[in-house]
């Protein structure tokens, strides 16, 4: 059964590409996406009882490839199908050729395959497929594409996959299997020093996929390439990066949580760097992209803390982040179309200009800054629930940074709009899509506890008193953030200080990107090899 989750999107993609016109492709796309969402929901229901396992072919032992869906994988599949459904609705009336739908379906198939497979080499193949498809989608508009940045994206991704393949070689040598579950049981019996090298090599590639600290600039740059549509940027930030996080979770499971302290530090540093970089930007898409980096840092932190609540919170935050970041990106795409600019200083008066976009964007912003009753608050509450001491303060500080970033972003609601803002009736689908996502933010916030129980099949209890405390902390940091932004940062950030300008235009060259890969590899290797697991 699980095989068809992957094969059918791919098959339909090629089928549409060969046989149909753009119009039928559109209708088929919506219908199929809806059906797939229902099916993924059914899979989630199945997974609540027991793990669903499909062997590809009827072979003994671990000779064949296995697809396994536990509740985590099923949750990711459901997330993918929901987001692609929303994207198809959003892109319904855009002027898309068959090629667009072809690539969209292929990407969906590859991502679902990535979430379901438990075979090391299959992961390599699927990651390459999804990378190439994303690269084409990023340069979809022929006239406005930025070929140099796209090329850098593609080449960096190929290089990190070579690291992965190399690490896989050592892993295969040591364990003799390519199946994750089987490998995990063998790994427990091995000498930890032997594992250092494969671990470092594989983690380097995964860290680059989720754009952790030394490797973080390529992703935002790619997100904002002029040729990339907002829907593609949304996939990139909302889902493609999640595939990196998913692999991180899986490989930490396989290696038994090696080096989680290191990743705690790296996650925190990434979050701080992401916030700092986001604050200096003026391009609205770049602000969103760097805030993605910050949230990924937060998620990695939560995943590395290790205790139950933080882990669940981080998992829930992955889902939440996908939802509100996609809503924000799609909203940003409409705002850019409306104002014909991407500079946040020139966008004013959105609230009066377009009420609907504003409502959806505000809901998503409430989600991301963790306002009470929105989904971000639940996941951030859980993230902070089982940490104490300095780390708790660090998380609060990161949230303060996020609040600052989105105060800057929210400045566009106020002021007077320019005279004519053209909206068209074809926007109904788009508005519906982002409003739906906004409502989902609110819904997941109100029923957070139940949602976690349903999706991850895990019991968490949101303590009312603790939640109130978090809400008070949130209100306090909102106040502090507002004062800080209004009276200190607002002027300084727009001044032409050299350091700010440099941070704003931060863009590593190709050589530096490779060097940062090397640095990351060396750090992980030394930490794991010398100080042990």
């Amino acid at each position: 059964m699980l095989t068809f989750f992957v094969i059918i999107p791919v098959f339909i993609a090629v089928f549409l590409f060969v046989f149909s016109s753009a119009k039928t492709a559109r209708i088929l796309a919506i219908g199929f996406q809806a059906a797939l969402t229902v099916w993924a929901f059914y899979l989630l229901l199945l997974c609540r009882e027991a793990e669903v396992v499909t062997a590809v072919g009827d072979y003994a032992g671990v000779l064949g490839i296995f697809l396994r869906a536990d509740s985590l994988a099923a949750a990711f599949v459901l997330l993918t199908s929901v987001i692609f459904l929303v994207l198809s609705i959003y892109a319904l009336h855009e002027d898309n050729s068959r090629l667009f739908w072809f690539l969209l379906f292929l990407l969906e198939g590859a991502l679902i395959g990535l979430f379901l497979t438990r075979d090391f080499f299959n992961i390599f193949v699927l990651v390459e497929v999804s990378t190439v498809v994303v690269a084409i989608l990023l340069m979809y508009d022929r006239k406005r594409r930025n070929m140099a940045a796209g090329m850098k994206f593609l080449m960096v991704n190929i290089i990190v996959m070579q690291f992965y393949l190399f690490g896989l070689g050592y892993l295969y040598m040591l364990t003799g299997v390519l199946d994750m579950e089987a490998a995990a049981s063998v790994i427990q019996t091995l000498n930890p020093r032997d594992l250092a090298l494969p671990y470092a090599l594989i983690m380097t590639s995964i860290a680059a996929k989720c754009s952790l600290l030394p490797l973080l600039t390529w992703l935002p740059k790619v997100n904002t390439m002029p040729g990339a549509r907002s829907s593609i940027a949304a996939i990139m930030s909302g889902l493609h990066i999640k595939s990196g996080i998913y692999l991180f979770i899986r490989f930490q499971e396989v290696f038994g949580g090696m080096a989680s302290d290191l990743f705690l530090v790296i996650g925190v540093l990434t979050a701080i760097a992401g916030v700092a970089l986001a604050l200096t930007q003026t391009d609205i898409k770049l602000i969103l992209a760097y805030s993605t980096v910050a949230q990924v840092g937060l998620i990695i932190t939560g995943l590395s803390v290790g205790s139950g609540y933080s882990y669940m919170g981080a998992l829930f935050h992955v889902i939440n982040h996908a939802i509100f970041k996609v809503a924000l990106f799609l909203g940003a795409g409409m705002i850019i179309r409306l104002y014909q600019t991407r500079d946040i200083r020139n966008i004013r008066g959105l609230w009066r200009g377009s009420r609907m976009i504003s409502i959806a964007t505000v809901m998503a912003i409430f989600g991301i800054i963790g306002a009470p009753f929105f989904n971000g608050s639940v996941s951030k509450y859980l993230l902070g629930a089982s940490v104490s001491g300095a780390l708790e303060w660090v998380i609060i500080l990161i949230n303060l940074g996020t609040i600052l970033v989105f105060l800057k972003y929210a400045a566009m609601f106020f002021g007077t709009p320019p005279e004519k803002l053209e909206t068209s009736s074809a926007w109904r689908c788009k508005l519906g899509a982002i409003l739906g996502l906004g409502a989902l933010c609110l819904g997941l916030g109100l029923f957070g506890e139940q949602a976690i129980a349903f999706i991850f099949n895990a019991q968490v209890s949101v303590d009312a008193l603790g939640y109130l405390e978090k809400s008070l902390i949130f209100a306090a940091s909102l106040g502090v953030g507002f004062v800080l932004y209004r009276y200190v940062l607002a002027k300084r950030l727009d001044s032409a200080r050299p350091i700010l300008q440099r941070l704003k235009a931060l863009d590593f060259g190709f050589g530096v990107l490779c060097a940062s890969m090397g640095v990351f590899f060396a750090v992980v290797l030394v930490v794991v090899g010398v100080w042990g697991a």
């Binding site: 072919g57 003994a60 003799g176």
Partner: protein, 318 residues
């Protein structure tokens, strides 16, 4: 012997590294690929060696076309003062100092890597099982083929898919917005003016095609298979280009055919392995293996022909 080959291998790689002139890089890279292919053969993997040999022919052609355009572009702007021309004027010692940090860094990484290389013994769990079971599980006499057409067919499906994507991507990323060149874009191969060459290639062409077909159909007996056979058939088109040109081939139909063949591969794979029809209906494995191989071979041949066509006809046009 392997040691000698590997030393040559590293030396040719260092040649690539040290060379500054792009055309020569391509030539040295060709040497490097040849040595690699022979080394694969010595390591007991004739399948991979054949694939590498076929692939490197295409890679070299892609690079050569690219270089030709590169020099054309350079000539257009004249000797522009970017680092491509500047590099040759900087004295050697200064250049060395400039690359020294990178050299030390990579050497350090290499040292670190070697220090941490796992010392554990290789686990032969899967190897033993594959070698013992593949004849009864999948059939055929070549274990590597049995793995990629049987045990790991799921991977092979995506491998075929990535070729479809590559064809789409190449036509989408290209400077030229279209699939076929008409009119002024045509050019004949230079070799076409030499009657001796044309005569000889006419003899060679059928042999290559025959070899490709041989690789398709003997997969259950010896090394070779869909990929290698497809590459051989695709290289038949290179030879054909040298004699007749390739502009008379309707490229759009080839693209359509490629996608149809991919659909065919998916259907056969789903039916045969995922749903287990081969086992259920007692179909002899030879029939399944040959069907799959012919399909994959057609797929690979079409893909590489389209890539070749694009490079020769469109990327190369001025």
């Amino acid at each position: 012997m392997l040691l000698f080959l590997l030393i040559l291998w590293i030396l040719s790689a260092v040649l690539v590294l040290l060379e500054q002139r792009p055309y020569r890089i391509v030539i040295y890279f060709g040497i490097f690929s040849l040595i690699t292919s022979v080394a694969y053969l010595f390591l007991g993997s004739p399948d991979v060696a054949m694939a590498e040999a076929g692939i490197s022919a295409f890679t070299t052609i892609f690079f050569l076309v690219c270089m030709e355009r590169y020099y054309a572009a350079r000539r257009k702007v004249g000797a522009q003062a970017d680092s491509e021309t500047r590099a040759n004027t900087v004295p050697v010692r200064k250049r060395f100092v400039r690359i020294l940090p990178a050299l030390l860094f990579s050497a350090g990484l290499l040292g670190l890597f070697i220090w941490f290389i796992p010392t554990g013994e290789i686990s032969t769990h899967l190897r033993d099982q594959y070698l013992a079971l593949f004849i009864s599980d999948v059939g055929g006499e070549n274990a590597a083929t049995a793995i990629y057409l049987g045990y790991r067919l799921y991977d092979t499906l995506f491998e075929a898919l990535i070729l479809v994507i590559a064809v789409v991507a190449v036509s989408h990323m290209s400077w030229f917005d279209g699939t076929a060149m008409t009119g002024s874009g045509r050019r004949r191969a230079e070799i076409g003016h030499s009657s001796m060459a044309v005569f000889t290639m006419r003899i060679i062409c059928p042999i290559i095609l025959l070899f490709g077909a041989y690789l398709f159909f003997t997969v259950h007996l010896t090394a070779g298979g869909g990929f290698q056979g497809g590459l051989a058939v695709a290289s038949f088109f290179i030879c054909r280009y040298l004699i007749y040109d390739i502009y008379d081939i309707p490229i759009k139909k080839v693209i359509k055919m490629e996608e149809l063949v991919f659909i065919g591969i998916t259907i056969v794979a789903v039916l045969a392995i995922f749903l287990g029809v081969v086992e259920f209906a007692q179909i002899p494995p030879v029939i399944y293996l040959n069907t799959m191989n012919v399909l994959i071979g057609m797929k690979v041949a079409c893909s590489f022909f389209i890539l070749f066509y694009r490079y020769i006809a469109i990327e190369r046009a001025s």
